[in-house]
Amino acid sequence: MATSNPPQPDAQPALSRGTARFYRLLATAAVLVVLLPAWDTGRQLLLGTHHLRTPSFLVWAAMQPLPSMYNFGNQVWISPTPLTGEQLDGRQNLPPEATTLWVNHYPTRMMTFGAQRAYLVHQPKPMHYYLRSRFGGNQVDSHYLLEPQLDEKPAVVVKRLPLAPGTQP
């Protein structure tokens, strides 16, 4: 039978190493959540995580456990043909085959998550993804191209393209 240590009222229990570590981990995460958006580089880093555009995968992975649900204003444009800056900014109409929508977080999910990749293989034609995320005065724009690869084993190749002049304010 285990020896027990019944709770006593108003007794401050000693902080074990495991408990202290958990408090420190939570406090560190909270401090990062509050401080990172407070300066420009931090905001760019946070926006970059939602566009899969951090300096390295390790940096991105280290940021992932920080909660960021419904963060930033995120828009996505999906089109089989390249779009211009005027079209992204709403100054020109989008081509009829293009779609645009808002996304709660991680606009890249529109290309990496769900059955979209299966549709692309079966269409099959390349698709351009334009992503825009805003936070405070910062904005990150990205342009990805998804190309179906119809080999013996189908796949979808994701390429990040430089933004064409005029597609980023």
Partner: protein
């Protein structure tokens, strides 16, 4: 790590008073005493947290099972941002199925050793899915990661009931508050404060609950005003739940649960996959708070 098992200590059955401090005897008194015994309170708290965690993952199994076993396996993405292991469909499948299987076994077991292994698997599985190409965007795995860390903390405390009683509710509230803090800070931007983001995400794009009705009955400007008010209420509400970490108690945990239930109700039931594990941790934390209350009650009546 060696921790004493969470066996029910008979000595405490005698030292903890019954609810209301009434003297009682017989089988009912024994059952009541067992229910308030620290080991039993901890066992039930853990089972509640684990059950909600598992339901959170199972509620979207109809999506994740075909996604992980068909889409990800048959239509892989070739994307050089992710290392091979973080893009492997087998890794994402194992990280999803493994914790579910071990967690379900642990739910039906009273082996504290199995609980510890299961919680370690829950932490590992949710962390892998947080950084995997096939699943990184789903907030389910971020909340699951922190909730499973709390469960791992709980089951590695052994019989240190004073520590569990004091820190369990505080840490549970801290986990819930941290998630809301992340949500609130990321909305401090004009797109959310003026309602534009929620106007599009909910009032224009959502096809469930009340949103199609609102679109067909309200004018554009009214919808925009409603979206701005809704958005600001969400931001303030998230900061309030985040601030509850400073006043952690059974009451703040119950208030957090009420907020999370409302969030699921006004969004979509799939959001339970994100909130379920947090609701479980909050319920478990509120149950652990009773350990302190039982001790206070015991001291007052002795």
């Amino acid at each position: 790590m060696t921790a004493p098992p969470l066996a029910a200590p008979t000595s405490e059955l005698a030292t903890l008073s019954l609810a209301g401090g009434q003297a009682a005897s017989g089988p009912i008194a024994v059952m009541a005493a067992q229910a308030t015994a620290p080991a039993e309170v901890v066992r039930r708290a853990f089972k509640v947290a684990l059950a909600f965690w598992l339901v959170g993952w199972l509620v979207k199994v109809h999506f994740f099972w075909p996604y992980f076993t068909w889409v990800c396996l048959d239509y892989p993405l070739v994307f050089d941002f992710f290392p091979a292991w973080a893009a492997s469909p087998w890794v994402s499948l194992a990280a999803y199925v493994g914790p579910l299987a071990v967690g379900l076994v642990a739910l039906g077991s009273d082996s504290s050793q199995l609980w510890r292994w299961a919680c370690a698997a829950l932490v590992a599985g949710s962390l892998i899915l947080c950084i995997h190409q096939n699943s990184y965007n789903d907030a389910t795995f971020i909340t699951s990661f922190w909730a499973s860390l709390w469960m791992l903390w709980l089951v590695t405390r052994g019989a240190n009931y004073r520590e569990i009683a004091h820190h369990g509710p505080l840490l549970a509230q801290a986990v819930v508050s941290l998630m809301f803090l992340g949500g609130a800070i990321g909305k401090l931007t004009p797109d959310y404060w003026d309602g534009t983001a929620f106007y599009h995400l909910y009032f224009q794009q959502k096809g469930n609950f009340i949103y199609p009705w609102l679109r067909s009955h309200l004018r554009e400007e009214t919808l925009m005003m409603l979206a701005a008010a809704f958005s600001r209420a969400v931001i303030v509400g998230e900061f309030v739940v985040a601030a509850l970490a400073w006043f952690a108690s059974r009451q703040t945990l119950l208030l957090s649960i009420a907020v999370m239930v409302i969030v699921v109700a006004i969004s979509t039931s799939f959001l339970f996959s994100v909130m379920g594990c947090l609701i479980g941790v909050a319920l478990a934390g509120a149950r652990l708070a009773r350990l302190n209350e039982a001790a206070h009650s015991s001291a007052a009546t002795s």
